[in-house]
Amino acid sequence: MKELPKNVVLEVEHLKKLFPVFEKGILFSHQTGSIHACDNVSFKVEKGKTLGLVGESGSGKTTLAKTILYLFHPTSGQVFFEGIDVFKTFRSKNKQDILSLRRKMQYIFQDPYSSLNPRMTVADIIMEPYQIHRHIPKKEWPIRMYELLRLVGLEDYHSERYPHEFSGGQRQRVCIARALAVEPEFLIADEPVSSLDVSIRAQILNLLGDLQSKFNLTYIYISHDLSTVRHICDEVAVMYLGRIVELAEVNELFESPRHPYTKALISAVPTSKPGQKSNRIILPGEVPSPINPPLYCRFYPRCKYHIPICKKKDPKLEEILNKHYVSCFRGKEKLD
């Protein structure tokens, strides 16, 4: 157990996840390096709040989220959920503890097409958590299932149908219902709307918002779409190559970003106002390979504000203003 600060439900400390890279030999393969998917990441999430994780593909947001839930085995670091050491619990192989922790934290996937078993009816899918955890008496299962269906905006008759009979938005509702069946306190939503149609996205985002206020849920919301992040998050962490480069309260981040990468990311979003040409910062080049990244600032090769020290040392995530953390040597300056 660890005493967490008041209101904090989740604390991630120096979390690191490396994936080994192998080269095949004749008989044995040997490791030639590692993908630094998630490197020394620390943050806290307060009860009932939403933390946004933003970054481009390969920035490690999904790896981070899956490692928190022990779906990937962490290389090092610690995660505390309500004071419980998450990794220690999962490693202990104590079935009761593991199940009770699984009940508290749930995951909503990006692709509602592959995250539902095509051979199971919606009723089976939503009642499976009851079979696993047996936290409510069996005769209440169908009642609870129908309650959940209505809660996520589906109808009773949907229960006997199969996933392929639903549209993407409806499937995502089923996924949300399944996650809610264990009565979790904490949800990780991994790009929950990015594979949905524009007119459906708003429905799902509003649903997530409603559920949050109803059950006082805590979210980590992962997205590469900054405009949805602005809409549902309280705090935002920007990731680049496995690191958090900036972390701040949502309006603070969008209105006065300090890290050069955050600035470019925000400016790159097309604005929905015709004729208004944004002063877009075009980043040169592409995200470098996360295999054996440089020991200095990882953004250095694409950064136009770099100074000599950027190529010598690795910047730390520092609090430059109240609750505004930046990992940049020039974070305190106002760059244009």
Partner: protein, 335 residues
């Protein structure tokens, strides 16, 4: 007065599947003027991709063009023979796909793929074609084009692959370019690079462009005019300013309101209720009526035609006149 380069009239493309006839494109009319960028906006199943495939007459089986006219430079493409179409595809009308990793053939080098296209339409020998390929790669911003031309598609990143695909599309200097969600699979910062590139190239090559997308932000930035599609039909066509400021079709209006804006704070989004209709058995009358908050009983019975709201602004709504007044009041109240 800009000349029209492409004019589609009442195009119908249906797919005969085992479950029934999918009316993917059902009476689409639109036009592209010379030198402009038309944003073709719609969600999945709206028929925007099938429309572009129909123009090139490469609709995959079991799809078939049932009816309509496709006038390209005053000639009906639907009356052309397959041989004649082959000369038009790639040379005069080119296409960029959404997924650059599958649109390039993985077993050939970039060089041979570019040379193939160039030689197909232009009388150049291999050396000249190669030189041209290198120039093209340079234009689309691939560093060290001379070296990288020997590489295979898997050696390029997603953004770079899309650049190569653009180079291939431009190799014969087409006069019309269809770009089907060219940046959807790319990251935001890479998307910004590609959009910038496409805007540059459009003026450099003096092309007209049809930009197919579901992203209103991209439309605002890139398009001159916009055609909005829903469930296989056109809802509204107008200049980009009118779409964003004075849209009259309820679907367009609702779509704009449902999109989160990066510039606004945490709040509830307005939603469009319901789901995208099934095109095997589409709603009668106006296909948007089951989700439309202004729908009346007439919307169920009568198929709306494109009507002129003002010059260059067409809308396919039976009640646009009334709705326009309501919207004006709503906008006034909001302001």
């Amino acid at each position: 007065m800009p000349r029209t380069i492409l004019k589609i009239e009442n195009l119908k493309t249906y797919f005969n599947t085992w479950a029934g006839v999918v009316q993917a494109v059902d009476g689409v009319s639109l036009e592209v003027k010379k030198g402009e960028t038309l944003g073709l906006v719609g969600e999945s199943g709206s028929g925007k991709t099938v429309t572009s495939l129909s123009v090139l007459r490469i609709v995959p089986r079991p799809g078939k063009i049932i009816d309509g006219r496709i006038m390209f430079k005053d000639e009906d493409l639907l009356r052309k023979t397959e041989k004649e179409m082959q000369k038009i595809r790639g040379a005069q009308i080119a296409l960029i796909f959404q997924d650059p990793s599958t649109s390039l053939n993985p077993i050939f080098s970039i060089e041979s793929q570019l040379i193939e296209v160039i030689q197909q339409h232009q009388k150049l020998n291999k050396e000249e074609a190669k030189e041209k390929a290198e120039i093209l790669l340079d234009i689309v911003g691939i560093p060290d084009a001379k070296l990288r031309i020997k590489d295979f598609p898997h050696q390029f990143s997603g953004g770079m692959k899309q650049r190569v695909a653009i180079a291939r599309a431009l190799s014969c200097e087409p006069s019309l370019l269809f770009a089907d969600e060219p940046t959807t699979n790319l990251d935001v910062t890479i998307q910004a690079q590609i959009l910038d590139l496409m805007r540059d190239l459009k003026s450099k090559f003096d092309m007209s462009m049809v930009l197919i997308t579901h992203n209103m932000g991209i439309v605002a930035e890139m398009a001159d005019r916009v055609t909005v599609m829903y469930a296989g039909r056109v809802c509204e066509t107008s200049s980009v300013n009118d779409i964003f400021l004075h849209a009259t079709h309820p679907y367009t209006v609702a779509l704009m309101r449902a999109i989160p804006q990066i510039g606004t704070e945490k709040q509830k989004l307005q939603v469009i209720p319901g789901n995208i209709p099934n095109l095997i058995n589409p709603p009668s009358g106006c296909r948007f009526h089951p989700r439309c908050k202004y729908a009346k009983s007439i919307c169920k019975m009568k198929v709306p035609e494109l009507e002129k709201v003002e010059k260059g602004h067409l809308t396919a709504c039976l009640r646009w006149d009334e709705i326009k007044k309501t919207l004006l009041k709503e906008r006034e109240r909001a302001a």
